[in-house]
Symmetry: C2
Amino acid sequence: MTQSLNKIKKDFTEGLSQISRFWGFPKGMGAIFAVLYLSPAALSLDEIAEQTGLTKGAVSTEVRTLARMGLVHRSSKLGDRKDYYTAETDFYAAIRSILQERQNSEFDRAVRSVKETLTALEENWVEDEEWNFVYERVKALQEFFDAIDSLAKAVIRLESLGLSNVTKILSVLK
Amino acid sequence: MTQSLNKIKKDFTEGLSQISRFWGFPKGMGAIFAVLYLSPAALSLDEIAEQTGLTKGAVSTEVRTLARMGLVHRSSKLGDRKDYYTAETDFYAAIRSILQERQNSEFDRAVRSVKETLTALEENWVEDEEWNFVYERVKALQEFFDAIDSLAKAVIRLESLGLSNVTKILSVLK
DNA sequence: TATTTCATTTAGTAATTACTAAACAAACAT
DNA sequence: ATGTTTGTTTAGTAATTACTAAATGAAATA
């Protein structure tokens, strides 16, 4: 069975779309990244729109959030007022970038609310079995989030979470 | 400012709901977990429904997927035909469980499709600059997924991703 | 200044996802 | 059996999210 390169590219794009959806991102986002990732040349908004089947408007907004995540980069050629986009190929860099993005996100706000619960509890202390129970539980959760947080921060600090680092981690976890 | 324990619990539940949403889960799921997590006693479906404001039907289905993820546990008291649910308090165990769940998930299917793209490319080899380019890129992505995968598998194998392991990892990444 | 060429925003629609209410099924008690 | 008490499924609705088409804005050129 022989397939054209275009068909293969399309399947690949499909696959990335699903992965994108799985992580809670719009599937269009995965498609955009896939198209850029497989393109040797930087692409303009319209080219991306054409190749993904999305509207220019949709591509405009989604490519922006991709850029914020560090998964694509915007560039411009002189004497040409279109913007051009390329895919980040260093995925480890992308992960760091995403983690960083999440620092100031809705997620962090929510995590902070757990800490607030904790102080609210302390300010309303009562000698009470239920109080104790709730306090211990909330505290445990907060500590867990802290552990996650320091892990994330450590990853952010790495210049490269290259294969070498991954294998290092694996050996520790052995 | 003094607040009742109930108000505090409610705020906490709210917070977990948002975290749940952030990770792409229904917010009701976070609420259910929160209620169970703060309850000293195991709760029945109806009790959960009442405390979260959801319907019994909704709780029934969501609590089931929570159980599949290992975040809650179902138990039953003899002489009582209700089911009772408790929250998993070992979050590291829960993480492992979730990772395991994901192994056979939609995500894995999608990741496999990347591998398939690769073999499709190999079966359709042409001496061609574009072919080469696409091949290299897809291969790089596939290797990245493999790295992630082995990390996940390593975590699954751990009996406990306790603080000690986390600090170990942190020291390696230093 | 008017025109062209692009990107962004907006207002509305389509598609998806979370949820409800009610029917159903299973297990038990009488 | 018959009625109760529970959990599950289903069919439909509400809410959310992804997207489109068209208007707007901005920057450059003529």
